[in-house]
Symmetry: C2
Subunit: 440 residues, 2 copies
């Protein structure tokens, strides 16, 4: 078999990269649990008719069928392209067994048959949290969800050297209420134009609003002024009120967004920004929306997004509203790991290599390894009886920090220091127990 | 949307079941790492021609294609049906970047388009470890691999109440050498008949060997006698030698198998059984083979199997031999979780519910929760301001052991004991920190 080539859009890592990914996933899932989210996992496939219900996405679905399916046997299953469609189905299927509000997290691969390009993948890992109510869900959960995201990203920044984030938040009620207060009936086309703010600038947006939508110059100017407002504290409320527009939905949106900014600011100052030009996703979400930029890699776009939706699912009688956040794990990690900017400082978990000087003593080496391992220290036994120097080089090549010789001697191969030790009690320094992250 | 129904062969769990699965997977992967195995993960798909190379399995492959693939666009990808084919490809693809012997673990879903039936799944999780050499791999690794399996299963038994295992081992060299020493040229047909030993009994096997294969009565009697040998210590060697057959390959196999039994016995007595009637898998494996029975659920068959193979992959110049063990995680857990024999003792990770007596104090409750959470204690804030009794019932329904009231009071809702405490220092008992396993 010739050397196989990677398949475009399906990223894979060497062990030192996969270590980083597993460390990140551990931080992510542990933090989700600390905030009371319970784990679920859904099957990779859903009925094709369920996946295809959202028109815009149906080109990207991967259909799954048995290689030897009978002629004419219909395609019935497809790989999920997100974790929301499966979660909606799971909630309906198990509603009788779940306690609402139901807080779940889910970390799984998803698949999209897109043409692969920089930053786009055909297979990638998402980590989702959602809080879903039965019939209704209080608005304070919109404040709770970004606190979880902040907790996750602060830990990844502090402990693993990932870039810090800027969490941008907005609220659809605020924007819609504002537009209505200005006398604009059709708000969706306004949102679509405002969405171009970053790309084409405020003046061009104003022109689109007057020329394409027939807004008055004053209406257009106020829409653009609103989009220009941003703040890391509640001061944005006065800026909005200063524009002199009054509307009940607007007030409601302002209240929700200011509560979010106030509480998030208590948790981590200046990471959360009320950014009133955010419009993307506002046709799906019905209230608060979240986007997340990596500081210094803003051009990657939002690496984690979410918001409030009125109906995750409905069985005809009961509707399940919710609020959630979806973390693009592969989107965040694959560029950093792929470019070598993020890697583990060793390619194996082992903190210790137990040397073997001749094959007759291998069983003693296995016993030494077991004694060390019993205290949760990762250890492997040298695969070959060999000289001192070769054992050291074996460890070096893999980044294993310690080599154990005989029954009672351990050497730190970085410093060269060798000490007498008992395999039943010896401890490596805490930072050497498991692989750490090596900044690129 | 009407209430959806499960899809046969694609098991899913409620949170209390998924907790058990995540606990098991954590034990499994941590133990793999303690033994020096590095994590990798491969894409879900492989080129169809690679998957279809093993003739017998090609009916079970799921083909993956884009929903809107052009007419005549060929099927090129399929979902992997095990983790061995992807691993072989990964080793060839990355050989230049890996250090050999390469020790890896891999825990992923696999898919088989089989007709679903009791104990068979179309989607299931496997956990594989392998040690792979470049060109060659010493036989002592055959001893090492079952020690990892024992360590995993002993922890699952001790910490989570899974049934104990009986690890059955055999060696193809031992059997082949024995048959050759008896003057039998074609050994594969003998293995196939011996494989029926458990089902049809020794007398019927003997008849098959004479009637179908033309063995002499003495040859057949010795083959059956060999298959009848089993022991938890090295005594099986004398039993085999007592049959009076001599052959170099037989000696080699006896040596390998007795080393395995001797070392495994040092680790955990009586769990590993040399069982010379094991023949399944011997046409794939070339030396040691492993099977694993759950004591009390032997009819499930082997829940974890593996062995030594001469060629995982080859690039034409270099061959990569290896030895591995594959754990059928879903096969072990799905029946136990599905029947309620194994569940977590709560349906949420939270150890504490912070009560909210009126909505004006919610932000204080969030601050209390953050202070408790900072020490790694899972906590959630009550979703609704409510009376004392309702908050308790909310916690009870989810199995949350503690409810926090105001800024300085915590109640164990099981005992009813309420104490004054500081959210910055209070600790729950260690066993209440995370969900535990509740025996069914």
């Amino acid at each position: 078999m010739a050397r196989p080539k990677p398949i475009s859009g399906f990223p894979e890592f060497l062990p030192a990269g996969r270590f980083v990914e597993t460390m990140v996933l551990r931080t992510v899932t542990e933090t989700f649990e600390l905030h009371g989210f319970a784990p679920i996992e859904t099957r990779a496939v859903e009925p094709l008719d369920q996946l295809a219900r959202k028109g815009e996405i149906d080109k990207e679905i991967y259909v799954v069928r048995r290689l030897h399916a009978a002629d004419g046997e219909p395609d019935e299953l497809g790989l999920h392209f997100d974790l929301t469609v499966p979660f909606a189905r799971y909630v309906l299927e198990n509603a009788g067994h779940l306690a609402f509000p139901f807080r779940r997290y889910q970390v799984q691969k998803v698949w999209r048959g897109e043409r692969p390009q920089e930053g786009r993948y055909r297979e990638f890992t998402q980590a989702d949290i959602d809080i879903v109510g039965q019939g209704n869900l209080a608005s304070h959960h919109d404040v709770e969800i970004p606190l979880v995201a902040l907790d996750v990203f602060e830990k990844l920044h502090r402990d693993m050297g990932l870039p810090p984030v800027s969490l941008r938040v907005n609220n659809r009620k605020l924007l819609e209420g504002f537009y209505r207060g200005l006398g604009i009936e059709e708000t969706a086309p306004v949102l679509q134009r405002v969405d171009k703010y970053d790309k084409i600038g405020p003046a061009a947006v104003r022109d689109l609003l007057t020329d394409e939508l027939g807004l008055t110059a004053e209406q257009a100017a106020k829409c653009v002024a609103l989009a220009g407002i941003s703040a890391t504290d509640e001061s944005f409320v006065d800026d909005v009120l200063g524009l002199g527009v009054e509307d009940e939905l607007l007030s409601n949106g302002l209240e929700e967004l200011s509560a979010l900014v106030r509480v998030a600011r208590r948790s981590v100052p200046d990471r959360v920004v009320a950014d009133l030009k955010i419009a993307r996703g506002l046709d799906y979400y019905t209230g608060t929306v979240y986007e997340t930029l990596l500081v210094g890699s803003e051009k990657l776009g939002s690496v984690a997004s979410g918001g409030r939706y009125d109906s995750l699912a409905t069985d005809g009688k009961t509707t399940f509203p919710g609020v959630g956040y979806s973390f693009g794990i592969t989107r965040i990690l694959a560029p950093l790991i792929g470019k070598g900017l993020l890697a583990a400082n060793r390619s194996v978990p082992s903190a210790v290599l137990v040397a073997v000087d001749n094959e007759d003593t291998r069983e003693d080496a296995i016993a030494v390894a077991a004694a060390i391992r019993a205290r949760g220290i990762a250890v492997e036994v040298a695969p070959k009886a060999d000289k001192f120097g070769k054992q050291i080089r074996y460890a070096e090549r893999r980044g294993i920090p310690f080599v154990w010789f005989g029954s009672d001697s351990v050497k730190d191969i970085r410093s060269g220091e060798q000490v007498t030790a008992d395999p039943a009690t010896w401890e490596p320094p805490a930072e050497d127990r498991a692989p750490g992250v090596m900044p690129g």
